[in-house]
Symmetry: C2
Subunit: 333 residues, 2 copies
Amino acid sequence: MKIVVDCYGGDYSPQETVKGCLLALMQNQDINLVLTGNAVELTNLVGGKFDGRIEYLNASEVITNLDVPTTAIRTKKDSSLVVALDRVKNDDECVGMVSSGSTGAVLTGAVLKIGRIEGVSRPALLPLLPTLNGGKVLLIDCGANVDCKPAMLVQFAYLAISYANSVLGISSPRVALLSNGTEDKKGNEFTKQVFELLKQEPINFVGNMEARDILSGSYDIVVADGMYGNIALKACEGTATTMLKMIKQEISKGFFTKLGALLAKPAFRRVKSRMDYNQNGGAPFVGINKILIKAHGASKANSICCAIEQVKEMHKSNFINKIKDTLPRNNEQ
Amino acid sequence: MKIVVDCYGGDYSPQETVKGCLLALMQNQDINLVLTGNAVELTNLVGGKFDGRIEYLNASEVITNLDVPTTAIRTKKDSSLVVALDRVKNDDECVGMVSSGSTGAVLTGAVLKIGRIEGVSRPALLPLLPTLNGGKVLLIDCGANVDCKPAMLVQFAYLAISYANSVLGISSPRVALLSNGTEDKKGNEFTKQVFELLKQEPINFVGNMEARDILSGSYDIVVADGMYGNIALKACEGTATTMLKMIKQEISKGFFTKLGALLAKPAFRRVKSRMDYNQNGGAPFVGINKILIKAHGASKANSICCAIEQVKEMHKSNFINKIKDTLPRNNEQ
């Protein structure tokens, strides 16, 4: 199977992106890659390895975080991102793509170029976060749609259920609504409307939940509007980072605590790796006609490799068709 | 100065609440307390200590989390909370109060009984969170108002500025708006409107900020609608708890990591104490005519003591009058 990788636009592009590609090719005999960007530079970085399994698709421009997404997609037609999107859209052999470029441009471009699955109103970002019991929780939407109507969140639930069914093998995922309390009456006007809609759906809706329980392992899917979801996701990220830094600060204050930290280092490394959801790939952008993984802007080789493997897993689990089967009919908003 | 303490309604009431009161009396010669609740039980718990500095105000009922706040305030007139609110309202000597009871009931009761400061549209919850550099950040509103109009957030900013000015001694606090990115154009329709309003005010408005930077120390005040703020606050809380549990899980996996953790224990304890903002008191409910600290439901003696001391500090810094001076005129919404 062919997977397209936008090799520019990330913080460590193209070096780390290419390294990630090579890692993925080494670990996955069943994939071939199409790399987009400066073909000469990319060819040099690859250095003749994996001949026959890599295709170079030249692109002379790069879309950055400073570009206005919609304008950039329209005007930078020869950017590594747009070239990647066009290829994925037009080539049936290409099952999906990975980009660590500007989130706004990647999402806008994906909707404009690859297009939405019929019946999907708004595609959404669906990161997988680590839970305390070693599992995963799906948080949807995390920022693609900052102004939502209640019915959109019902679709988000179905998109995440499709993922849980096909990729994670969870047949009846526990769906909860992000709110300010667990009781049925909690929430603001918006979430109360969403609550009533979700209650009517033939899904395993377990009710309202609080942001403090996102990582608890009590839920498989947390549904939120893109603004709430973004705030929750980033608050989790920020607290994890802050705590690791605070631990460092406090440990450095004494000899014994330093010694102890040295001995406990492997444990910390494991916690850091568990909490760093970016390290394990990227966030699927779901509801479009192909598989797309938005890798973090700061992705290094390992994350890119994981993101490529995510595309492979999603394709093997028949994710796109699962969405089409799962979405209720006549649900276009 | 007299401070009223609602001794029932918390998870560890009245035992821990009373212990906290005794601690506060011991550490603060300049305060007297009025304890509300079952006077016989309270008298027994106090055991004759601090004679002359404690007044017992009997109340035969307790409002719980199961009660509907507005109904409970109206019907349970002889509850420890309502009796406390009435006393604070009517007795000029009582400068403020502490309650670890049902958040909904405490906030509703405070508005109904104590009343809003003239010109304040919506009082708000203002917790102080720890920052990486050892300082504090004020997050307003954290759940009192889940359906806000843009202008309300401007008032929240002024309420927090009053606190920063008077209690923290920060003359020109850096005010940021919780959004999904730092750029001026980020946000949803609601926050974009708030952004435009805040920009016009004669305050130190530094723009949009992301939830991942709440604890960074880059801001003194983070303004949010009560729903966003609640989600951000609880996501921070939940991640901190989850990480400490994950660290425990990972440490228990090996002999050396266990030994290391033992040596590093003082450092962990300090991190835990820094992150646990409840341990250092409660969240001021600001914009009403008296000082009110909403202590966490799970408050133990130390938190109650800190919450009482918060009331004292806020009174000494002339917080209520500072609000009246700071609020722009004709700002009622």
